[in-house]
């Protein structure tokens, strides 16, 4: 009996730092953001309770719908682009000579940091002297201002984000592929299955838990896009790349409408939760967990 007492004493003791930290820096703030979303607050005086007014204003606010649509559009490019390219690259380099070197190159951008890589791309895409326009001119394409054009800015930022982050998923997929027993492929080869059939009948089903996990992570990361747009376009031109987190930041820390910014944050949180739940339900239909 005495042993059990010490055990639970140490049990509580060991979790205390993290539980206290979690409470202060995560749980209290998430409760507090719900409360603030019903308040008017300018960051200086005390918050004033105004009920659902912020929510009504936020829904009517054109900046809200703009930010939500832009983020969705960006995600439609970024998520499939990242997952599909990462999967193809991983399958292509899995059993190849020079695998380590390829993987080294594909993961390189991911270690470099968002501000630095954004600056490098600003220079590459610079409309007058950027080297991208030189490459395009070889193919007879006129000078483009990819980041300064309302139609191209989101696809461009999406592609850069794929370039920046695809290495994470490549590394994870290679590790996943290495976990598939080789006998499956050997058996399929004896039965005369071609590479495409093998990909769809063995690789995809066996990889589905990993693909599911990375899709959730990539989706969440996609909706949180901030650094790149903040550094490269700051939402421009004329809000064509105004993303959701930039919207929260803008209202909170530029215009000091902290209450409405909290409202935007709460809506964001609820949307992310719903999305994760939907993905979880959908996963039951196509994820094949090994039994």
């Amino acid at each position: 009996m005495k042993g059990n007492k010490t055990e639970s004493l140490y049990g509580y003791l060991f979790i205390t730092p993290q539980i206290v930290g979690l409470t202060i820096f995560s749980i209290i703030p998430i409760i507090s953001v719900f409360y603030l979303s019903f308040c008017q607050w300018d960051a200086v005086s005390d918050p004033i309770f105004v009920g659902v007014q912020n929510y009504i204003e936020e829904i009517k606010d054109p900046n809200f719908s703009k930010a939500a649509l832009n983020t969705l559009l960006y995600s439609l490019i970024y998520i499939p682009g990242n997952i599909i390219i990462a999967l193809l690259l991983a399958v292509a380099i899995k059993n190849i000579k020079g695998k380590t070197a390829y993987r080294l190159c594909y993961f390189l951008p991911a270690v470099t940091g968002s501000v630095a890589m954004s600056m490098i791309w600003l220079w590459i895409l610079e409309p007058n002297a950027g080297i991208m326009n030189y490459f395009l001119s070889i193919f007879g394409i006129e000078k483009l201002n990819l980041l300064g054009n309302m139609a191209t800015v989101i696809p461009t930022i999406g592609c850069i984000a794929v370039w920046y982050n695809v290495g994470y998923n490549v590394v994870i997929y290679i590790a996943g592929l290495e976990g598939i027993p080789g006998v499956y492929y050997e058996a399929a080869m004896i039965d005369g299955a071609n590479p495409v059939t093998r990909f769809f009948k063995i690789t995809l089903p066996m990889m589905s838990p990993t693909i599911f996990f990375t899709t959730i992570m990539t989706t969440i990361a996609s909706f949180k896009v901030f650094d790149q747009v903040f550094v490269m376009t700051n939402g421009g031109p004329s809000k064509a790349s105004y993303m959701y987190v930039l919207h929260i930041y803008d209202y909170g820390f530029k215009q000091f409408k902290m209450g409405q910014s909290s409202t935007a944050a709460v809506i964001f949180f609820v949307l992310l939760l719903i999305l994760t739940i939907i993905q979880n339900i959908m996963s039951k239909r196509w994820v094949n967990y090994e039994t």
């Binding site: 639970s8 209290i28 630095a116 490098i120 996990f213 650094d227 909290s262």
Partner: protein, 277 residues
């Protein structure tokens, strides 16, 4: 015949893969190349890779115009403190959740899982409010404290791993009169070295490159982290591309060197943290 077509397929495959690898690497090569040119050479058409003489003065202007050295030290101090304390406290909590029995363990663990779902973008305003009240705005504590003591992902990951370690080890140690703290650092820590290393790498990269919270919580230049300093620099030297690329180089080149040296561990670490879904 079959053999020949196989070689052809393999050549095409390598060609495509090398092209993609070139796209991944080229921007950094171009960064270095631009950083060694003078202001006129960057506008030469067609663009040249290197224009002689190499202009190292750009790096000098980076170093003298803003306190990049101080920013480097700030980033290093903040990141090391966060990573150290977060792995220490998270591994301790993970050990407790995985191996020790106490009332309410499952409920508290669900709490950990739930907080994993809370993104930092949602809690930034209440945190700002809290740090303002506690007088921690514009101090490094505003970055270190949440980083060090709020790491549910780490608790979750390490708990999954430690749960897989055999109970018999701990029971034997208990019979020998080993106390729980001793079991933690003599048995659990050494055995979970690989997972802890993986998390360490993952977390180091994340904190080193973190931009949002420093942007919100730091105001004075002397306290800035590297990404923040780089962002300020961009505003100061707008359109002076050689100097801007030198600044990006100052930030990126050390990271790339570390990456090249430790690539095996970094890539393995990322694979481990990603696999446990």
């Amino acid at each position: 015949m079959k053999h020949k077509s196989n070689i052809l397929v393999s050549v095409i495959k390598h060609f495509v893969l090398i092209c993609i690898a070139a796209i991944m690497v080229f921007p950094f090569v171009w960064m270095v190349s631009t950083s060694l040119k003078d202001t006129y050479a960057v506008y030469s058409y067609p663009p040249k890779f290197f224009s002689w003489p190499l202009e190292f003065a750009n790096y000098q202007s980076v170093w003298t115009s803003l306190p990049f050295g101080a920013a480097f030290l700030n980033s290093l101090t903040i990141t090391v403190l966060i990573v150290f304390f977060q792995l220490f406290t998270a591994s301790m909590a993970a050990f407790s959740f995985a191996k020790l029995k106490f009332k309410g363990r499952e409920t508290l663990f669900i709490l950990i899982l739930a907080t994993m779902m809370i993104p930092e973008q949602v809690t930034m305003i209440p945190l700002f409010k809290m740090f303002t009240a506690a007088n921690l705005i514009d101090t490094h504590w505003a970055l270190i404290l949440p980083g060090a003591f709020c790491y549910p992902f780490g608790v979750f990951m390490l708990r999954q791993f430690i749960k897989g370690l055999p109970d018999a080890l701990m029971e034997a140690a208990r019979i020998d009169g080993c106390s729980y703290p001793k079991i933690y650092y003599k048995i659990i820590l050494p055995l979970s070295k690989s997972s802890i290393m993986a998390l360490l790498i993952f977390s180091f990269l994340q904190n080193w490159n973190s931009f949002l919270y420093p942007l919100l919580f730091l105001n004075t230049q002397e306290k800035f982290t590297l990404p923040l300093m780089l962002n300020i620099f961009k505003g100061l030297y707008f359109t002076n591309w050689p100097v801007l690329m030198a600044a990006a180089g100052v930030v990126v080149i050390p990271v790339i060197i570390v990456y090249l040296i430790a690539q095996k561990y970094i890539i393995e670490g990322i694979a481990i943290t990603g696999m446990k879904g």
